[in-house]
Symmetry: C2
Subunit: 203 residues, 2 copies
């Protein structure tokens, strides 16, 4: 196995160990020492892969986002070549919300990361840039759906984009079992129904 691949795999193994520590004990306990123990590595060996706790957290966050993107990609592939924008948005939202264990790992990492961002400028900048990228992708999709007549032309694309992003607010409601996964999906569907009602696609 080429060394580069081995290095990447080892970093992913460490990231998963970090997720488990965050899941069980919270981000405050996710020190290099604690994660090394969880990953079955020596502290020194872990430092070969991550020079600092921040570097480890950032990688684990990026890795979680990548895994979410992969899950969304797999869902979109199932939708065929020209998926309806409503189905694309639903797939993105459904995989971002903590509706199953893999998605929960990502949403917990995000929550921990956002909290770190509030008092760490570097984490803030990284988290912000990730979210802005996601926001741009959603706004592009909304604008295209308006251009294609799927969404009524009098809708404001920026406002509709922000409302779609705000639906990630279901994360807390799901984590604290204030709503069930079924209720969250029903609400997402209701919101998408409202967004796409009044559209008159050309094709």
């Amino acid at each position: 196995m080429p060394k580069q691949v081995d290095h990447r795999e080892r970093r992913e193994t460490i990231a998963r160990a970090l997720w488990r520590v965050v899941e069980r004990h919270g981000v405050a306990q996710a020190t290099l020492r604690e994660v090394a123990r969880e990953a079955g590595l020596s502290h020194g060996s872990l430092q070969h892969y991550f020079a600092s706790r921040e570097a480890m957290l950032s990688f684990a966050m990026d890795f979680a986002s990548e895994q979410t993107a992969l899950r969304v990609g797999r869902r979109l592939a199932e939708l065929g070549e020209h998926p309806h924008p409503r189905d694309v948005l639903r797939a993105m939202l459904a995989e971002t919300l903590p509706l199953h264990p893999d998605a929960r790992a990502n949403s917990r990492m995000s929550a921990a990361y956002v909290l770190e961002a509030l008092h760490d400028e570097e984490v803030h900048a990284r988290a912000r840039s990730g979210l802005l990228q996601g926001r741009e992708a959603v706004e592009r999709l909304v604008r295209q759906a308006i251009a294609d007549g799927h969404i009524a032309p009098d809708r404001d694309p920026a406002i509709e984009t922000d409302l779609l992003l705000a639906l990630t607010g279901f994360t807390t409601l799901l984590e604290l079992r204030v709503v069930t996964p079924e209720a969250a999906l029903a609400a997402v569907d209701r919101h998408l129904d409202g967004l796409f009602e009044g559209g008159s696609p050309c094709s």
Copy 2:
């Protein structure tokens, strides 16, 4: 000053010191020792008011929620005796989102508290019960607005309630400056317009 009042005041002073520590360094740093330092108290003196870190966090969270409820109450008082349910919901959402420093203290405490809840059953139960109470209040309001004809009768009150609660998802977008306060309020207004459109009040 009666001893009871003094005790309560001192606990509130400590809660505010905790907010500042959470704001500056994150919830992980909010130990009894650190908060005592911030409040200008000895560690032993602080323990007279809070036996454990959890007790201190819970009180600080409850106190933040109370302060938010007070701010909402003041806003509602300005709306007169029979406020429109749209204005009531807008006031609740506007004071819950981190749009100004006082509201930010509450939203940061909530975020920290939710993260603690993920790996602490007692905190989970308390946070959940607080959110369920808030959810009930909103659903009561939505059901009344449907009964009064302000919201169309074909709307599902439970789903609409969940969507309103999910708008707290703007918290993260605001904290990371992915949306501006103006954009968040515009989106809240757009959502409320959609909720109340098609209503035909009897009076």
